[in-house]
Point group: C2
Amino acid sequence: MTSRQYDLGGAELEVLKVLWDEGPVTVRDVMTHLHDNGRQVAYTTVQTLLTRLEQKRYAASDKSGLAFVYRAKVSRDRVTRYRRKVLLSQLYDGAAGPLVLQLVRTEKLTPEEVRELQALIDELDTRR
Amino acid sequence: MTSRQYDLGGAELEVLKVLWDEGPVTVRDVMTHLHDNGRQVAYTTVQTLLTRLEQKRYAASDKSGLAFVYRAKVSRDRVTRYRRKVLLSQLYDGAAGPLVLQLVRTEKLTPEEVRELQALIDELDTRR
DNA sequence: GGCTTCCTCCGACAAACGTAGTAGGTTGTC
DNA sequence: GACAACCTACTACGTTTGTCGGAGGAAGCC
């Protein structure tokens, strides 16, 4: 259990998302965005979170003017893929099929999404 | 952050899965199953995990003969649904569509699964 | 009746996480 | 040049999670 790659807590992820969405930002910028999202958190808490993200190599920083500016070092896609994989292996025995079926059955898809899905299936069909 | 319902760590989930798959079992049973799955873990560790599961109301136990027998109190479906929801809200903004598309695109579905998926889509289509 | 085996109860401990306070430096403004 | 506003560095602390060890009691065996 020592791999733990792309493993981060909820609060850390929240901060990383700000980095993804807002590009290079300062501690204060992140705090402001979190506050805007209704997440009341102290300045130094954000700072700690960013420092940890940097220790874990999910982010990097440079001194720019009077404050450090942080940016993400891992892509959203990479983290997302990893989490998806974890969910799949932890609860679906690694099989994507059942998860897909459940999602389509229980969550509302937009017409647009349904169209795309149909297109994908067609492709899978003709490919065989 | 005080809801934390259906929130359990990886090791706790492993134990819960044994309860789901094997029905009422003793500490030793669980340990044996974990060992069979390649997870080397001490007897008392399993005991602690089961105790915590019980504290969190995910499991219950009765004294049966000389050892306690544990059983799951939450369904696999309930936990699975919750975890799915967490993934969705943490990384997909709550929208299932993108996740479904990614899964279909990147994971191999069996022909059978594709057929089921097609059937589901057809239903969605005619329902509109 | 003593030895081995199993079980439960408790305590413990390190790492990870979420959260934040304090100290001390830089800067901008009257 | 003093004060307010910011910034970084460091420390800290409670909770959760993963992992066990030891003490002490019932049971089976010879």
